[in-house]
């Protein structure tokens, strides 16, 4: 059994590496590796496993798409530029408040969608411009946008790494809100202030002249209303669970998107925005779909069990000491696939060792997104660099700037894992 699973895993790794070397995309490489593994196992045409696996994260994908559509509509309606301009006009003299509010703006899109790339796409350019007006160098601005995007992806309510790991562990995705909020806000604030504290006073006239103007009629109510509706729908499900029909998060996001369209001062090209949203999200949707297929193939062949067993039988101290490296690197290679493959056995192990699984998973789920700037994918890192217009060296410039805050975040995440029981007071519905 060990030899069989080892050979299958070897086949999958070789096929994956060969496909990526032949310039096949990461998603297709994973799909080919999954199918190759199943065939090597003896399933000649694994159609059922491919389709069934593709549905593993179907709900997560729907949430991801509808939340991003909502944020894109809000941006197109001028809501985002309205907020950014309002913040600058009001707080341009106070650097601390400005940095705090910009951190908040960077956190919201990813928190709602679970994807750092959405933060970069929706608010990255605008916040990047403001940071540049504040006298911060482009490499630092790119690092801030990436790190805050990474923290936004980890921030509650939607953390895809935690959701995927929890789903694989038969563990409720409940109680994560406060633990994730605390660690991601701390991480984002550290990144913002460490990299953005030094600079020059903002030139408010220049900033307001260059930032996009929101359409006439946009106001605070129109920006806040869709969020209030969303929050109301979620809270109604909790407060009146036996009277409120179950609508699910995707429909809640779509209702908020509908409210955004209705309140928009200008007519929004809904179809065009929807198409662009799906087109922009295709790589991530593809990843989520293919990771499900890969996980199914690995479960079928025993490769998943081999990885799980190897992880859970490692000395726990070695695991603690290497989490800060292993998690981001696995994310760089497998993206979200790292969560079900490594996260699930780790959570089982931590649970068996008497650690608090929710706090431990919150810690790991905050370290993972740091790997989105690492090769071979460098997905969110590259997006951040391009969005803010940084044209210096990626590794020597941008990535080097990220190191200190990233180490701080990784250390926080490790503390969450190691001292999960002491921090279990953070667990709440």
């Amino acid at each position: 059994m060990f030899i069989h699973a080892g050979i299958i895993l070897g086949v999958m790794v070789v096929v994956f590496v060969a496909a990526t070397l032949l310039k096949v995309s990461i998603e297709l490489s994973m799909l080919i590796a999954a199918v190759a593994g199943a065939i090597a196992h003896g399933v000649a045409f694994p159609a059922r496993h491919v389709v069934e696996g593709a549905f593993t994260y179907f709900d997560v994908t729907l949430i991801f798409i509808t939340a991003t559509l909502f944020m894109n509509l809000l941006k197109e309606a001028g809501g985002v530029s309205y907020i950014v301009r309002a913040i600058i006009s009001r707080f341009y003299r106070n650097r601390v408040v400005l940095l705090l509010l910009l951190t908040f703006i960077l956190l919201v899109p990813g928190a709602l969608t679970g994807a750092g790339s959405v933060t970069v796409l929706i608010v990255g350019a605008m916040v990047g411009n403001v940071l540049t007006y504040m006298g911060i160098s482009k490499d630092r601005v790119a690092a801030i946008v990436f790190l805050c995007a990474a923290m936004s992806a980890a921030a509650p309510p939607i953390n895809l790494w935690a959701m995927m790991t929890a789903a694989g562990s038969n563990m409720p995705y409940v109680g994560f809100t406060l633990p994730l909020a605390v660690i991601t806000i701390l991480g984002a604030l550290f990144a913002m202030f460490y990299l953005g504290w030094k600079g020059t006073p903002i030139s408010v006239e220049r900033a307001l002249a260059e930032l996009p103007e929101p359409p006439k009629g946009m106001n605070g109510f129109k920006v806040a209303a869709p969020f209030v509706i969303f929050l109301g729908l979620v809270l109604a499900g909790r407060v009146f669970p036996f009277a409120m029909p179950v609508i699910g998060l995707p429909l809640a996001f779509l209702i908020s998107a509908g409210v955004t369209v209705l309140l928009s001062p200008k007519r929004l090209p809904i179809f065009k925005i929807s198409c662009e949203t799906v087109e922009n999200l295709l790589p991530l949707i593809g990843t989520l779909t293919v990771v499900g297929i890969l996980v199914q193939s690995m479960a079928l062949t025993g490769a998943r069990g081999l990885i799980s067993l190897s992880v859970v039988t490692m000395p726990i101290l070695v695991i603690f000491a290497t989490l800060f490296l292993v998690l981001p690197i696995s994310e760089g290679v497998l993206q979200y696939g790292a969560a079900p493959l490594l996260g699930v056995p780790l959570i089982f192990l931590f649970n068996m060792k008497g650690l608090d699984p929710i706090i431990a998973l919150a810690g790991m789920a905050t370290i993972w997104p740091l790997g989105d700037a690492l090769p071979p994918t460098t997905l969110v890192g590259r997006a951040a660099v391009m969005t803010v217009g940084y044209d210096g060296p990626y590794y020597q410039g941008f990535l080097k700037r990220c190191i200190v805050p990233a180490l701080f975040i990784a250390a926080l995440g490790t503390v969450y894992v190691v001292f999960s029981n002491a921090l279990s007071f953070l667990v709440a519905g």
Binding site: M1, A47, M171, R238, L300, L309
Partner: protein
Amino acid sequence: MSPKRDMSPKRQETSKILTSKILAVVVWLAVMVVAGIQFYQHRNFKEPVVLGPGVTQVKTLGDYFPEIKGTVNDCNIYILDSGQPGGTFFVVGGTHPEEPGASLSALHLVENARVTQGRLIVAIHANRSASTVTRPGEAYPQFYHIPTEWGVRKFRMGDRWSNPLDSWPDPEVYVHYPSRQMLAYMDVRNLNRTWPGRPGGLITEKTCYALIQLMKQEKVDAFIDLHEAELEYSVISTIVAHQTAAPVAAMASMTLTAEEFPIGMEFSPASLHGLSHREVGDAIGVPTFELEAPEPFLDRVRGATGEYLLLTGKDEFVMKAGEHGLLYEKIDENGWPIDVRVGRHNSTILKIAEVWSQVNPDRAVVIENVPRYAEVKEKGVGYYLLNPAEAPKDRVVYE
């Protein structure tokens, strides 16, 4: 010149992309069609059940709660009435259809049991919806096959949760009725998290409500919910009992451990809601027993997933995890075969009935002709399954 050479590089590129897209769509359609046929066959597969000598009536769950009538969860309810005064036991398998030992044990009762005092009521697929789907990402086999003296009986493998085709979407958080305890969103489709159910809820909540109505209308005295569990899970090889069932469970556990095989007994936690062993007793006062047998197939560290592992319970990876002290139940090279798991359930049901009848002679339930642990272990589960082809047509029903 060939037409292709006439094309500009841009058109050539566009043509190449179009060809790739068409090819991708064709391949994907082929995969979808093949998989779709397999999903359809799984969802619509009918398991024959031969009505044994003790079955006096077959109802459906919808007879007790009309809103379930005709739905996917309108499962068969088998009544074995001795005609003699006594108590009434209700046994359900298939609460979690990924635990086949539970359904097979219930099937053994239906096809073999003779009740000489009181009544026995059985549901083989308590959550039929969950038996029509396998879990994405887990690569479960769609069917499993049990060899018998006369051929092979084929059964549908299922999942822990109701099929999303029957209950979707899930809420953001599942708030349990009536405790208001917040549980995982997908557990709104888990039949062992939705007790006591509610009439206006989703299909799984309605199913629990219907099962409660059954227990009320049939005046059930004791309820047994059959399960299997992964070895990494602490509640295993045990009887979990509501406080009203605790004395009988404790006595059954001690006797079984002395006479047949080791089995523990645990009290149902008072603060954990939605489970049968807590809610049925609390809601309608019926003493409830939840039986857990070991199923290595459910362990996350398992090796290759397939019918072999499901039925033999043999797995080197799980054994290795055991060597590292990561399991709550022993496992060796003999594994946990389906015969052992079903035999444990059969004997535990019989022992509970025996102890119950001693403690409550006026509400006794006497069950005979059901193979016990040693017999099933020796001859196999299939030995005790009847041949639907040889049974009179009016004695065969379908699940």
